[in-house]
């Protein structure tokens, strides 16, 4: 098993996901090549987090396929990492949190010590390495989650709203780290509700709405001339549930099945 074997491109083919008969991701097809950073945006309930979890393998699609490249499906597990909206901190020291992840990848002890020191240093957590992870501030916890993911040197890193509840300073620090990880060659696929962040971090943008991919475009194009009128409205900061109605039944070539009967 060679974790360095390429797992990209990631190909989603007609992927749907439903819970209790409710289709939350609908007929989604796309391909992620190595290289660019992708931001997935869309209103709440659009299915952004589900989309990430499907790609990462935490959820199994109800229909369609999700395929990683490479000779061996198992490779894909060890070559990915994910950082969650609410960082999950093990009840251990900062260093032990990273160490745990590295042990799962069968890194030897000397190896681990070096990597831990490196990633904690680069994420500005070195002085906190012996502190209990769970008493860190929220921003520090998110940085540690990133450090833990970084230590694994993943080919693909999924980030689910990594700065959702952070102040501007912490947001900035997190974005710096994401950039640094990207510069080392890791494919970034992240969700965000912060359009500014999408502009700052992403090379391309996917716009999701009610489980459908309504637009997939380079960031520049998306923000200047979004094809889809819902995406336009979203970029302008309008409330999308209000915009839905008869007139919007066709949008950017995608069928929008029904106007919402209730707010979510």
């Amino acid at each position: 098993m060679n974790p360095r074997a390429d797992i990209l491109p990631l190909v989603l083919d007609d992927v749907s996901f439903e819970i209790n008969g409710m289709r939350l991701i609908k007929d989604l097809s796309c391909t992620f090549e190595a290289g660019p950073r992708t931001a997935i945006i869309g209103p709440n309930g659009a299915g952004k987090s589900l989309f990430l979890r499907l790609c990462h393998g935490l959820l199994t699609p109800s229909a369609g396929t999700i395929r990683w490249a490479g000779p061996d499906g198992a490779n894909s597990v060890t070559a990915q990492a994910m950082v969650f909206q609410r960082p999950v901190m093990l009840r251990r020291s900062v260093a032990a949190n990273v160490d745990f992840a590295l042990k799962l990848r069968d890194h030897g002890k000397p190896d681990r010590t070096v990597i831990i020191d490196e990633v904690l240093g680069r994420c500005g957590l070195r002085r906190l390495k012996d502190n209990p992870a769970r008493v860190l501030s929220f921003g520090e916890q998110q940085k540690l989650a990133l450090a833990r993911a970084w230590a694994l040197k993943p080919q693909v890193l999924f980030l689910d709203e990594p700065t959702a509840s952070l102040d501007p300073a912490a947001t900035h620090a997190v974005e710096e780290i994401v950039q640094a990880i990207h510069h080392e060659g890791t494919r970034i696929i992240m969700t965000t509700h912060d359009l500014g962040q999408a502009r700052r971090l992403a090379d391309e943008v996917i716009f999701l709405h009610r489980g459908r991919m309504l637009e997939y475009a380079p960031t520049e194009t998306f923000f200047t001339e979004p094809k889809n009128d819902l995406a336009q409205a979203f970029v302008k900061g309008e409330l999308l549930w209000w915009k839905l109605g008869k007139d919007n039944r066709r949008a950017g070539g995608y069928e929008i099945d029904k106007a919402p009967r209730r707010r979510n």
Binding site: R53, H56, G57, L58, V77, T78, Q80, A81, M82, F84, V88, L90, R91, R92, S93, F100, A101, L104, R105, P132, A133, R134, V135, L152
Partner: protein, 234 residues
């Protein structure tokens, strides 16, 4: 109440005089209960964690049985173990009846459900929080389970102490399977029961006070260890 002041006097006299019989009884009590709790922990922690983390056939049955057994009267457990270990019973050839081993077996049956059930609750809460992260990191069942047990160690400590509390306080089971034999299977609780039946309430209460102090010491020591460790690791 004269008996109560007498009890303190009796307890003090026993401790001050370092009664050899008392030391033997206290030693056996600790030996039986600590051994039982240790074995119950070795069984109960993985069992409780497994029922929290995994879905497997028979899981719900195990959960219901464990919960029901938490409240099992010690006398009933004692009786069951007695019937099993009696010469007329299926394990009679082992000749374990009226030995400390029999008492440990009975207490393991009493304590394991408590430790396993409390472990399951702790593990379920923790697993809700950890599950996605563990799967994301690619942790298999065994690594997830051990990680959860380790990270839940402070709460699990309380579960184990609850088990020790039940073991050290019960009299029904050890009385039946141990027989309260002098110098062989007499422990604190059966000694107390004996003194009550002799009508020596002050001496019984004195023994009770010593048991209380012992139990407080064990719990206190456990609390201090936990506290110190928690400060370091949280």
């Amino acid at each position: 109440m004269n008996d109560i002041s007498d009890a303190f006097a009796a307890a003090f006299a026993m401790v001050a005089g370092f009664d050899k019989d008392l030391a033997e009884i206290v030693g056996l009590s600790l030996e039986v209960s600590l051994s039982a709790v240790f074995i119950a922990t070795v069984i109960g922690l993985p069992l409780g964690a497994a029922t929290a983390l995994f879905r497997f056939p028979g899981r719900k049955v195990i959960i219901v049985v464990l919960n029901a057994f938490m409240g099992l009267p010690p006398v009933v457990v004692g009786l069951i173990v007695y019937l099993l270990l009696s010469r007329a019973g299926p394990f009679g050839v082992l000749g374990l009846l009226f030995t400390p081993t029999a008492m440990i077996i009975a207490q393991v049956i009493l304590v394991t459900p408590i430790i396993a059930s409390l472990t399951r609750q702790v593990m379920e809460d923790l697993w809700r929080e950890y599950e996605e992260q563990m799967r994301s990191l690619g942790a298999g069942p065994v690594r997830s389970l051990t990680a959860l047990l380790w990270d839940g160690r402070f709460s699990l400590f309380t579960a184990i102490l609850a088990g020790f509390g039940r073991a050290s306080a019960e009299v029904g089971a050890v009385m039946i399977v141990g027989g309260n034999i002098d110098h062989a299977t007499r422990v604190m609780t059966t000694a107390i029961a004996l003194e009550v039946s002799r009508g020596d309430l002050a001496l019984a209460l004195g023994l009770g006070l010593i048991l209380l102090v012992l139990s407080t010491c064990v719990n206190g020591a456990a609390f201090l260890i936990r506290d110190a460790a928690q400060k370091r690791h949280a």
